[in-house]
């Protein structure tokens, strides 16, 4: 940890400094401090309503924070529209409900942002898209529409869609919790592969503890809008410090 603190600013992918957020009068995030170094893989867990989604949605400014700072790739998020558009091209996001574009074919879902945001020629964007569809193991579905795919396939398409933008940071918000059990592993496999490749900073909200143990550099436990505990997966699961963490882990393992 102390080593990380001495690193230069630009070695951080994300810094959150005293981040606070309210929904109306409801104080949803309280003094969040979190530094993520380039290439680090972080798993965020915690009970429902603890503010996990809100934290990672603040990183690409889908939610606005009221106090504190968020610095992404060395740039503080101000809410300026042009800055945001630029910043978001480097920050990919996968949602719980995939949010594929149902009116576009799978291939068009993948090439849309590269063509319209990165201004990449169509043929090149399609070649890249096929490459990523192969990586998530569904190149044969390219011409179908999202409505014709299973949940697990849709989430893999969503991951490929983000990867097509070649992001430096990937955010995952419970990517497997809307899936039937037999589809969870096909999505996790893709994510594990991605994590093992290295190079990409990953923040993942998930309750898949196996995934956390296997790939995470750090596990963050949140409750009531605060970071309660932060540790290596090994320490976190085998030697949880706070009472809330212990309770949470016992509940997860119980069910």
């Amino acid at each position: 940890m102390s080593e990380a603190n001495t690193q230069a600013q630009h070695d951080y992918a994300i810094r959150m400094i005293n981040l606070n957020k309210w929904y109306g009068d409801f104080h949803v995030l309280k003094d969040i401090n979190l530094d993520v170094t380039q290439g680090e893989r972080i798993v965020i867990c915690g009970p429902s309503g603890s503010g996990k989604s809100t934290v990672i949605r603040c990183i690409n400014h889908l939610e606005e924070h009221q106090k504190g700072q968020i610095i992404v790739n060395g740039e503080e998020i101000t809410g300026d529209v042009k800055q945001l558009e630029r910043l978001r091209t480097d920050v990919g996001m996968c949602f719980q409900h995939f949010n594929l574009f149902p009116h576009l074919s799978i291939l068009d879902n993948l090439t849309l942002a590269p063509i319209w945001v990165r201004k990449i020629p169509k043929a090149e964007a399609e070649a890249t898209a096929m490459k990523y569809l192969e990586r998530v193991k569904i190149p044969d579905q390219a011409s179908k529409y999202p409505g014709q795919l299973s949940g697990g396939q849709q989430q893999r398409v969503a991951i490929a869609r983000s990867l097509c933008m070649n992001p430096k940071i990937m955010l995952f918000d419970e990517p497997t919790s809307a899936l039937d059990p037999e589809m969870i592993s096909e999505v996790l496999d893709v994510m594990i592969e991605l994590a093992n490749e290295g190079g990409m900073t990953m923040l993942c909200v998930t309750h898949e503890m196996g995934f956390a143990k296997q790939v995470a550099d750090r596990v963050i436990f949140m409750d009531a809008g605060q970071i309660i505990e932060e540790n290596t997966p090994n320490e976190f699961f085998n030697n949880p410090q706070s009472e809330r963490t212990q309770l949470f882990l016992s509940q997860i393992i119980a069910h």
Binding site: V81, W116, M165
Partner: protein, 369 residues
């Protein structure tokens, strides 16, 4: 315990059609009440259909040069009367020697539009933009003229089906984009834009079209500087466009509200701007959802064009009702005129409704929310 190694073969789905008799039995004669209604229906058809067919087709006079040929014992509808006044029905008071000009404009429009329906046609967007942005000027030059060698035919001479189509097409083509912008504005997070759009929409929805037209024709000139003449048709058109845009806006807003927030989030999360997210992701889905509502609005607009009569413009219905109706050499065939007008309106409205159904089917990508 039960175990099987045998995987059953895939069989074709059973056919649904079980023959005419089965259909009749299950649809028309399934219960005593049903049987009674079936016979009442047949009786009604028997009483009304033959006389109508007799009047409209069998006893009808199709060609005639004078009114007298249509009169007499056992004579039915006098369609010859429409045929004799066909020029006026189609073009109003447009000089017959110049009919070729609107004809060319119409043919050009059809020729330009057909490629839009060809599946693999490249550069469709440019063609569409050409039709919307350039063609109106070509059409105006052709139909109105007044420069570059074409004699001027003022809008006061335009009429008939031509005028109905011009008002409707311009109205639809302008009200749709304006309505979409208003709908987006109404959902804007910027308070000023939002309130301007809300006030605009609620104002235009709150007044009857008749009074809009009346204001456009009688009151607007009072506010314009002395001596400036502003074409009557243009004024009516602006009134119709603003009026219909308010309705389109509300229909489109319904569609926008039905699109899950995640769609917009996914779009902007990839770095798309607000306008790109709207035009590439949100609007295509929202508009697809509201095709029935939009077509409903357009059909209403098409029929509402008949109201321009009250400000002295002679659309198809007005020509038939007021011009042909008071023509002393063909007195007494009012019914035929109205039936013909109704038929023409029905053809266009029915075509719009069929097209919208086909469009819905074509755009269906199997997504159910």
């Amino acid at each position: 315990m039960y175990v099987t190694d045998k995987i059953l073969p895939e069989l074709p789905a059973p056919s649904n059609s079980k023959g005419v008799v089965h259909w009749l039995k299950s649809n028309l004669f399934s219960s005593p009440v049903n049987i009674v209604f079936t016979f009442l229906g047949l009786l009604l058809l028997y009483k009304t259909l033959p006389p109508i067919i007799q009047w409209a087709f069998i006893d009808a006079t199709w060609v005639a040069d004078t009114r007298e040929e249509c009169l007499g014992e056992g004579k039915g509808a006098c369609w010859a009367y429409i045929g004799n006044r066909f020029g006026q029905v189609m073009y109003g008071f447009y000089p017959p020697a110049e009919y070729w000009r609107p004809n060319i404009a119409g043919i050009l429009l059809i020729a330009l539009t057909i490629p839009l329906f060809i599946e693999k046609m490249p550069r469709k967007v440019w063609l569409g933009a050409f039709i919307l942005l350039v063609f109106p000027f070509i059409a105006y030059y052709l139909i109105h003229g007044g420069f570059l060698g074409l004699s001027e035919v003022g809008t006061d001479k335009w009429g008939g089906l031509m005028l109905t189509l011009i008002i409707s097409l311009v109205g639809i083509a302008a009200a749709l984009p304006l309505g979409i912008i208003l709908a987006l504005g109404r959902r804007s997070e910027m308070p000023i834009i939002k309130s301007v759009c809300v006030i605009f929409i609620e104002f235009w929805r709150g007044v009857p079209l008749i009074s809009v037209l009346f204001m456009a024709s009688v009151m607007l000139p009072l506010f314009l500087p002395e001596g400036s003449s502003f074409d009557k048709l243009a004024r009516a058109m602006i009134g119709i466009i603003l009026f219909q845009a308010a309705y389109v806006a509300e229909v489109v807003r319904g569609g926008l509200q039905a699109i899950p927030k995640g769609q917009y989030e996914a779009a902007v999360a990839m770095g798309l701007s607000y306008w790109k997210s709207m035009t590439l992701i949100i609007l295509p889905q929202a508009l697809k959802l509201v095709i029935p509502g939009l077509v409903n609005t357009f059909i209403a607009l098409f029929k509402d064009t008949t109201l321009v009569l009250i400000i002295g413009l002679f659309d198809l219905l007005a020509i038939i009702e007021n011009v042909l109706g008071s023509d002393s050499s063909w007195l007494g065939f009012f019914t035929e005129g109205l039936v013909f007008a109704a038929f023409v309106f029905w053809i266009f409205c029915f075509a719009m409704s069929r097209y919208s159904m086909a469009l819905e089917r074509k755009l269906d990508t199997g997504h159910r929310n």
